[in-house]
Subunit: 123 residues, 6 copies
């Protein structure tokens, strides 16, 4: 497949999950300097991996929340809390993943994840 | 609830997911020195968090694979590949999580996770 | 032991180390969404592990500072700087742990830990 | 550009850096299960990012050694020690990066990196 | 060599890379409490490791950016973006390292590094 | 102080904690390639930081166990289990730190630390 098609497919999926305004803001924030990274994200992350069959997007969202909390990357985690809601996860399901984080990544990771999730959920 | 009840409930769930022989081997490997940790695992990890309603065990397994791959903990990751199968995940679904690991945790983490998953899946 | 007793014992120890107002603020900040996590913290972290005999709380505090600095979890680290003082550690003893962090976790971790410790110590 | 072209370009660069036999072994080790990951590596890691102008491959190799040592990923680190030699780095230059690892990531990371580098350098 | 000589040599190199005002501000921010750490940094990090022959400072800067991005240490990363410019790296070369971070450490690490680099580059 | 004096003081302390044979083996394993790193360890880690007054070596050992478990560095952790015994820690005190690791770093880190500690303690 041509990489431009992958890019377009990825950008559409990304907009569908996070909303057009949020994606536009994120892409614009990095300017020309960030174009190659945004291209990687649209083409490979969303146009390729996220677009594969074989797993529902609800499960993908919960797995990405688990990874980004474990990796200690708050900006990405917050973005994906909203994405998880858009992909059909309930706040209660998200909380169950946060409690598993307490067990597998430790209480400080779970505390950080709860604080960020509450902000992103608007609670 | 009494902690002994939680412990019993957790031990049963753990045996159901990983098999009685595997749990017995893991608990025995740490001897007396490891009893307090095994108690934490049975009572709190499985008797409490894993026993909560609100999320299916299939999703929990995928989230724990995501966390333990991100945390770089191969022994725990391998155990939970087998647990994921027991909880109804297919190898293909597991692979989709491993590809997300490549995007969010990086290619080295995905390489390690693939190698461990292939061993645990007996492929 | 009943988990409610563990919870009560843990909450008391937590209040004794960090002060009633600080614990109330932390527990309230997460609302209903955070109740299951706060329950894990009170019951298992403080009611069980921190309440065990076998190690003085001064040593526990220094070890937790070491872990949370290594894990890069600033909010938790700051809370435990104050807890370390309450458990009888001096600022000079805390600094010796921060210098070990420079050796074992690297200079960036030690820089972050110094900045956070100075804020928490009110210096 | 078509992704098959990117894949071919990446595979060639990868073979040039690590040798055809080593790349074949790595790609074969993961079987059919690992094909999507190998595709990501060939197409995006080597066909896209590593093939970009703007930085010499010698500097790329030293940066990747720095990252994989910091990330604690020994298999990937070892592969890239050999790649660094192929890209024109000397063992002495590699050692300077390992000493910086001691300062920025801590002595345990530098110890592990030295052990792995000595093995990969055949010393 | 006497450690005072190492300290002086390191301080001079540090001032040359980051500017006298920035070094003075960083050393002052930690006060008396931070003097032992600042001494470690001047004497060992800059007076010893950074002062060694065997690798150009441009390569050292790119390697340190790679490490501090992988380690998730934003304050240190930002300082070293400026140091990389002073050591002769171009913004485009720095960006190539950030794209490698996307491949080896994952997209969230690359996003964070891009945001911090843009701020430090004043773009 | 002259760095040779620091080096000698550090080497003596290191031998006192870990035994002459173990230190000789570790220093020899890295050969000429590893001499600069061994010099950093003897001079700065043991000749400077570990030789400072202000904290007893028993507390230093427990803090280093906490850090190296959190950092996921098994070789260094194992060495320091033996060092902790030499510095007067009991196996029971070490275990209390390992249980705190379960709470703050997560169960997989505590499992790994228990396995390594049991081996190092010869149990």
């Amino acid at each position: 497949m041509d990489t431009r098609e992958l890019h377009e497919r990825g950008l559409k999926l990304r907009q569908q999950i996070f909303g057009e305004a949020a994606v536009k803001a994120r892409m614009g924030a990095f300017g020309d300097f960030g174009k190659p990274l945004q291209n990687l994200i649209n083409t490979y992350a969303y146009g390729d991996v996220w677009s594969r069959p074989g797993l529902d997007n609800r499960s993908r969202s919960l797995a990405v929340l688990a990874m980004t909390a474990a990796l200690n990357r708050p900006a990405e985690f917050s973005v994906h809390v909203k994405g998880a809601l858009a992909n059909g996860c309930t706040p209660e399901e998200i909380r169950e993943v946060l409690l598993l984080i307490g067990i597998y990544c430790g209480i400080p990771a779970a505390n950080d994840a709860h604080r960020l999730a509450l902000e992103a959920l608007g609670k």
